[in-house]
Symmetry: D3
Subunit: 118 residues, 6 copies
């Protein structure tokens, strides 16, 4: 299993543990989070790019990986995604560089896998 | 003068003071920052939306105002911008609410002013 | 009007502007936020204290003021609230000091006003 | 050794290395940190819950694990702790989700171990 | 009164209010904070520069102003301070720019005032 | 290979992947980042200490390790570096402790290796 497949499997298992706690607020938050990236005034695929850059400047590798997968599934090309990463780098500064490194490493693993399931 | 016009005037004056320090690194950073939002693999107007959400989750009102002006100039409608703010709210949580309030107040002031100069 | 009354009035007006945008996700987020502080496995009043310290370490004065009002209404005494602020100070460090200063100034204004309406 | 036992062992060893540097300020900070969670105007066990939520919104897994152990030792039940995590999730947003996943995984490992030694 | 004199007066008054709460932990934290900038393995004046850059990347204007005053009192020149601000700008990114603007505005007010009292 | 040698090797490989994306903005940012630590109004070695403390309060272990290596190469002694870490600890609070533990562990590995190549 590649890193990205391990990430997806671990994420699924841990999300199931969280939902098993059966806390209404947490379940509603998870739904609200999913809904934010559906087509509305903006197309969902643009909002995936927003989620990616927000995750990058807040420096969360798991969130970056999640949105990279969604961006690749939504058809954004590698140069487009890298151009978005550059916005995050300029906004967030050199402290973001380790996460840009992580993002590019994940992007390499996602090549040719636009059918990947989360 | 409205709040937004005061912001623009104060921003111009203070940017001039910063550049007057004549520090090569700071001047190059300012150029790099401008360049990040020009058309490249992604259109500049999409990257303004990325800058807006990055500013929102990092909770910087001045940066939010700057990118709101740029988004309005780039032709994004209020519902599209509000949909982008919602992504920032979900990613960043209730701590972001005061900045969503600020952003909507600025948006109201920007109505009909897509020709505003920064 | 004291600072705290101005804060409450401005917060009400801006929240109304936000809700007027009529974005379903934002409205649901506001509801979810309110619900998180209602009695559940933990009493609501304990969760107000959690909200206060979370706001302090994330350094949001508006959020600190909001939760201070709620804590005073819930019957927490000034020494109890100050003891909670100390946890936030130790977790968040000296960068939090300006917000501790702000919080104590607000607390002074809230003396004898446990019936204040948000 | 479970993850949590490994965490405790590594934390002990590294804390010893830090204290061996014999820096007076650091030693005093460590003492101040311990003291913040002792009974004072608020009971220590309530302050452990404050420390947990502060750690969650600041997104530090090691700090979350430390306070989870302390909360379990202080007698907070799993539903009470999950209700506290929900406050942190709403305040801090979806960027906190990976840390909620981590916290629930740690909680599972702590089941029946309220006598665990840090 | 200039902005910087107002800042100093307000800071003094609010610090007095905080200390009047008579919380032992908070008082010890204030002492520890002062002690961190005294001569030790590193000279105090180098540590004021460290405090300035830490405050800048954490984006706290009050903390930036405090350390700017201390840096000017310690004899750092404007070009040296601006060179330190540039490190903070590169580490922290464009989100730091409004605070660089604030810092340079404060620096202008501090010209010729190396005898200023906090 | 020690942890620090693994870090250096992984950092080199991932930086190469990032630069291979051939994004002009990212390449210019990398250059600007390097330039910020060269002798200018302040000596480069003082600025490495600034970069270390900025990295510590922003809680980025990879950035802390990078600047620790640079500080050791620049001739700062362990007590001087630990005194700088203390400033970061006081500014950033107990949430920084896991990163102080990480930093001291890295420092131990760097003993006698002031000729290490990044």
């Amino acid at each position: 299993m590649s890193d990205i497949d391990e990430f997806i499997a671990a994420r699924r298992a841990a999300n199931a543990s969280v939902l098993q706690q059966d806390h209404l607020g947490i379940k509603r938050f998870f739904n609200l989070d999913d809904a934010a990236y559906r087509d509305d005034a903006l197309p969902g695929r643009v909002k995936e790019l927003l989620g990616l850059v927000a995750s990058l400047v807040l420096r969360c590798n798991d969130c970056v990986d999640y949105h990279l997968i969604q961006c690749v599934k939504a058809g954004w090309t590698t140069p487009e995604i890298v151009d978005a990463l550059n916005v995050g780098l300029v906004v967030g500064g050199s402290i973001v560089i380790p996460h840009v490194r992580h993002a590019v490493t994940t992007l390499d693993q996602l090549a040719g896998r636009s059918d990947i399931e989360l």
